[in-house]
Symmetry: C2
Subunit: 466 residues, 2 copies
Amino acid sequence: MNDHPPDTHGAESDSSVDEFLITDEEIREITTAVRAQDSDTVHGFLEDLSGADTAELLSKVSDEDRDELLFMYGDALDPLVFTELDPELRRKALSSMPPAVVAGILSALESDDALDLIINLDETLQQEIIRKLSVKRRLAVEEGLSFPEDSAGRLMQREVVAIPQFWTAGKTIDYLRNAAADLPEDFFDIFVVDPSYHVTGQIPLNKLVRADRSALMDSLKLEDIHPIPATMDQEEVAHIFRREDAASAPVVDRDGRLIGVITIDDVIDVIDEEAQEDILRLAGVEHGDLYRAVWATTGTRFRWLFLNLLTAIMASVVISFFDATLEQIVALAILMPIVASMGGNAGTQALTVAVRALATRELSGANAWRIIWKEGLVGMLNGLAFALIAGVVTALWFDNNMVLGAVIASAMAVNLFAAGIFGAGIPIFLDRIGSDPAISSTVFLTTVTDVIGFFAFLGLATIFLV
Amino acid sequence: MNDHPPDTHGAESDSSVDEFLITDEEIREITTAVRAQDSDTVHGFLEDLSGADTAELLSKVSDEDRDELLFMYGDALDPLVFTELDPELRRKALSSMPPAVVAGILSALESDDALDLIINLDETLQQEIIRKLSVKRRLAVEEGLSFPEDSAGRLMQREVVAIPQFWTAGKTIDYLRNAAADLPEDFFDIFVVDPSYHVTGQIPLNKLVRADRSALMDSLKLEDIHPIPATMDQEEVAHIFRREDAASAPVVDRDGRLIGVITIDDVIDVIDEEAQEDILRLAGVEHGDLYRAVWATTGTRFRWLFLNLLTAIMASVVISFFDATLEQIVALAILMPIVASMGGNAGTQALTVAVRALATRELSGANAWRIIWKEGLVGMLNGLAFALIAGVVTALWFDNNMVLGAVIASAMAVNLFAAGIFGAGIPIFLDRIGSDPAISSTVFLTTVTDVIGFFAFLGLATIFLV
């Protein structure tokens, strides 16, 4: 135990992650060597790079250079490289390699990583690879594939350390020493099981090492443990890890028997994925777009833009109701995008807060109405502020036309209030009916703020200005 | 070690996180009891709830109920509850409690959690609380506060387990047994230090427990360790943990001497925060908006909306250049929002991909141009597709006006190509000049797509239709 004080730190920042991560410069050097077919230099670089570095290298070179690297130097790559690759890139890379080589990579990995690698491949390719695995590994992979997508069963590794209830700390340590080679690569907790393999306790290694040899393992158990059903969705798993600050958790089958363990490093990937998912979905893009070919990317983006085109056309239809008014007062055409755009932006603010709060479970039935109401109030207050600003600017811009100023001010106030209510309300409603609030909220919201914005502005103008 | 096969799992999903998390129903029951001043019921509930559950309870009740809970039952709350609270809510809660009570809570926590609690408070309140701490804790907190915001030094806990190089596994375990009470609550690794306290190695506990008693600790060390400078930014820390799949990492001062340890649970909070930051910044909202008072929230949102107002006014100015054209052809006023809105949406897609890829370091100098070019191509292809669709729809809508159709088609193609280039290019440029790409990208992008969209559409119309 140490409370050794630092004697210097502070102002001058000498901290940089760059010294031990791969640099753009190195990537350029390797690419040059690959193109020059200078295999000694490439091998030299690859030996020095960690798995994560090599994965970064593969993800940052062009498609041609990557294919060349995989084809010429694939056998020199650490199998761990593939676990670090982006899923889309991993699928591409493994699909381009012979099934036997992929099977070799799978055999060198822990069961959860092996499953991760094979999961996104085409089913025929999957079967080809699986046939080339050892019987034991094959059964493990097939069992993993039988769990629902994104479930705890897919996330877990089957290699766990479990001991009976009546063992002492000393006996456990002796067992670990003797079984050393058979133990999982990394583990943080030991699970206590009864004779029928039900989990009765979890003991962090740091409790074991500080216990007396004679201490009963049963007495070292954590008070409450949360066995995770294999079918639980991975987002719920992440939620549990986050709440419990656990380093690992036991996974059980429907009868509550221990079948595997999920460790925190798997959960970090889930958390990253989850956070990524929301931000990408709000913008209508898919994970992996960075690595997908131009044509495929165009396709995935098209669908979202098409939806937005329908929204935009709907807004245009609303505008067309007022064509007579617009013909008389061209200032309306100039000003109307302001009202719609402010509504859209204010709504997106409320929507983003609600979508994230739903994802982190900070928003549920208990506080949903309070939050919708609060966002409505915030929208109303900002609506009044921008009504004043836009009203004054407009009146000054268009020859002191006070009525025009009053019209844009009223439309602004109405639209920003609606933006707050609907911005928070739409995702909450979608979540309540079981839809993903991140996927379609923005389209609905834009429709609402465009329609209300144009209707209010042009409608009021028709009444008071024509 | 266990490869026990599950015999049942699959189709039927019996997995739910709800059984061991607090439910909306329970929150309602507790709120009712609080309002009825039924303290026995409230105490009963609070005893059963974990720290995370109580934090969730506090975050989901109204401000009044929360104040009542803290005032009446604050002393019955586990100090850990406060570490689980949202930072904004934590600041509110602790600010409302007497400094002596807060000091008591701080004393019951590990050094990193204590620091976390005090960090967001007003400086005068901080000083008041610090004065009430024990000398040792006070020094620790003051030292922590001296590190830069969001640095490794603020994240680390000072309690670490360090041993000299020449110890054996047996001696280490004996030491841990004897020092049991003085050890940190939780730890995953033991650090090897030389006499001047420089870190020379890191040994995961699972390597220690499977080693022979006679094994030298020096021989169990991991091959490469990454000591983290105390001044390193927390995002870089998270990046290292993610890449290295580490459970903990040593923190060193400028002379490379061990001063603390960062564990993975602290890093998960950083990862959550980080991911949250990007999505919130893109929409112009701040973390904590869910818990901030209406008035304060209105203020933080106002700034962003004001920027957007300037953008919208700039777009209106562009439109006003073409007022003579608009006066002649009202169809242009009806159609022009379509071009701008499609550009904005296509640009946001490219922008979101680039912002995330910059955050995860999948995008750097090595592939920046390739990605800008790819997004340009994708924009061009979708631009051509939507040019066709919008052109045909427009011609049909407005009495077979083929020229009007051709004008909107050309403007659409130009704007979507620009949206792709600028959508990817703006965040990359901002990142290159050292700005946060998530903060201001959207404003710049909207300006670009609005201006180009309106200019192209109304300009072409002026040339070909007037």
